[in-house]
Symmetry: C2
Subunit: 326 residues, 2 copies
């Protein structure tokens, strides 16, 4: 399976690594909006092209993995490149998924291609677990917790504050809330009761630290509804202790079974990831395999993880899966 | 969707309850090997027939749920009734799944029916989680723990010992082993290091308790390889404190991502169930929905949970799923 990567940031690099870790995959080309000669990739002997050259190289690619951002890149790119190739993205603006789906579906169907959107862990593996658990326990309650991990959006918000040189934000689930859900207590939890936020900030020399801390803690949407801790640290400390991009989280469904709903059940799924982009990329490559196979079978148009039978993700045959994993 | 139940034990009753909890399902009939007049079911106005009458009532049933045992019932029943109906079972003898699959597949295909075997939580939801996690983390290690819960097979083994009137056995995962796996330490665990076994035994009057305890603890396959605790209790205590059938367990995969496999990841799925048969039945009914739909689409033959796209389990449309659960 020949994979193309569009966009060589953290996610693009992650996809390159995931290809190396899957024997049936091969990196065909990387496409970039930068000057290709300035982009140094890890895999030897693989070309880097300008993004405008995708059409010219479309026959060398079985699946194109789109590694741009959800805010402005993917809404344009995924429908655009579904014209030329099978495509997969990790579009994660939950509220805009229906619109994005419709746009991609139209182009993919018109061109006989298969597309998969919103693939990763949330949306992605977390969504799958919500769906399975909702179908098994129709009478129940869902809980999703994120972290401990780095939120890119919240880190960016900190860095936009005057006097801030650099910063990193961790989202942390509240342990007592997790425990209550896990015990089947079905708590009603406010935003503040579910997560705390911890910020590590490098201030400009002479900046007003109290003012920065106050601006962070009162920032609407991002921090105001949470218990937030702010630590001022040096640039060296930030680099030494906070350069990773770990993440993870928990999906629960608690629900009742029995004639009089007398039995409680707790379904829990959790992830603990040293690198968010490396894991997301690994999910993307497993699903790229499915996209490739579905296209070969003539199943075109846009899909999500909900539409893919799990066996399509595996390099093993049905016989092997039944014998070893069932 | 009209459901038939074959076999009205714990699992059959569980299926009846799950039907009540799913608005799009209706119990059409219960089939039994006992005298139908002796079988009192919970749902009013639904007939109980002799198992021999299935063929005569096949047009009243969209999916027949087979609730017999894996040792001798299902290997015969599932292929037999795939002749007349779409069928689903929870066949759980892992080693014999390939053979059972082939037998059921042949009959289902010949008769234009859809069958799903080995559906429940293990095999079933645990298998799905093993598969997804293996596809995402091809370089990793799997761990499955069961419990805390009642093992029917081990309870039966205790009850066969001379001098034992009744008994119940709990399988318990070793907490320190769970913690080690959860931390990503990738331990190599022996049978003894993964689970302990706790037995509650009602002895016949005058029985040799030391002899019973020794027979349990040294029983090959069932107990000899485990740290086993035996408690002698009264019949009243057994009834009062141990009449439930709780179960559950944990599926982990730990694995590496990154160019030099420098990142660790832990995927964990767990279940905590007040009633094992009530939960298994809830999984069966969600998958019965898929079987019914696949048959309508003309997708015949035998399937497993690996072959079913998750959206087929839900009463919601693709649009609704994308808008609310993705």
């Amino acid at each position: 399976m020949k994979i193309g990567i569009l966009g060589y940031g953290n996610l693009g690099k992650g996809v390159e690594c995931a290809i190396k870790n899957n024997a049936d995959c091969e990196l065909a080309a990387v496409f970039t909006r930068r000057d290709p000669s300035s982009v140094k990739i890890l895999t030897e002997g693989v070309p880097v092209y300008k993004v405008e050259d995708i059409e010219a190289h479309k026959d060398e690619i079985d699946v194109l993995v789109l590694c741009g951002g959800s805010a402005t890149d993917l809404p344009k790119q995924t429908p655009e490149y579904a014209k030329y190739c099978n495509v997969i993205d990790s579009f994660d603006t939950h509220a805009k998924i229906p619109e994005h789906f419709a746009n991609v579906d139209k182009v993919a169907k018109e061109n006989g291609h298969t597309a998969l959107i919103s693939c990763g862990w949330d949306p992605g593996m977390f969504s799958l677990n919500r769906l399975y658990a909702n179908c098994i326990l129709p009478d129940g309650k869902d809980y999703t917790f994120w972290g401990k991990g780095v939120s890119q959006g919240h880190s960016d918000a900190i860095r936009r504050i005057e006097g801030v040189k650099d910063g990193k934000q961790y989202t942390i689930p509240v342990e007592s809330a997790l425990e209550s859900v896990r015990k089947g207590e079905n708590p009603d939890l406010t935003t503040r009761q579910k997560h705390t936020r911890e910020c590590f900030v490098v201030a400009e020399e002479g900046a007003d630290l109290a003012k920065i801390e106050n601006e962070i803690k009162t920032m609407p949407n991002y921090f105001a509804d949470y218990d937030t801790t702010v630590h001022f640290i040096s640039e060296e400390e930030l680099k030494r202790d906070h350069s990773g991009i770990p993440h993870g989280g928990f999906v629960f469904r608690t629900g009742k079974t029995g004639w009089n709903k007398e039995y409680n059940n707790v379904i829990e799924y959790s992830l603990k990831l040293d690198s968010n982009p490396a894991f997301t990329s690994s999910v993307l490559i497993a699903y790229a395999r499915a996209v490739y196979r579905l296209n070969k079978e003539g199943s075109n148009g846009c899909k999500t993880v909900f539409d893919i039978a799990p066996a399509y993700l595996s390099p093993l045959s049905g016989d092997e899966l039944r014998a070893h994993l069932l």
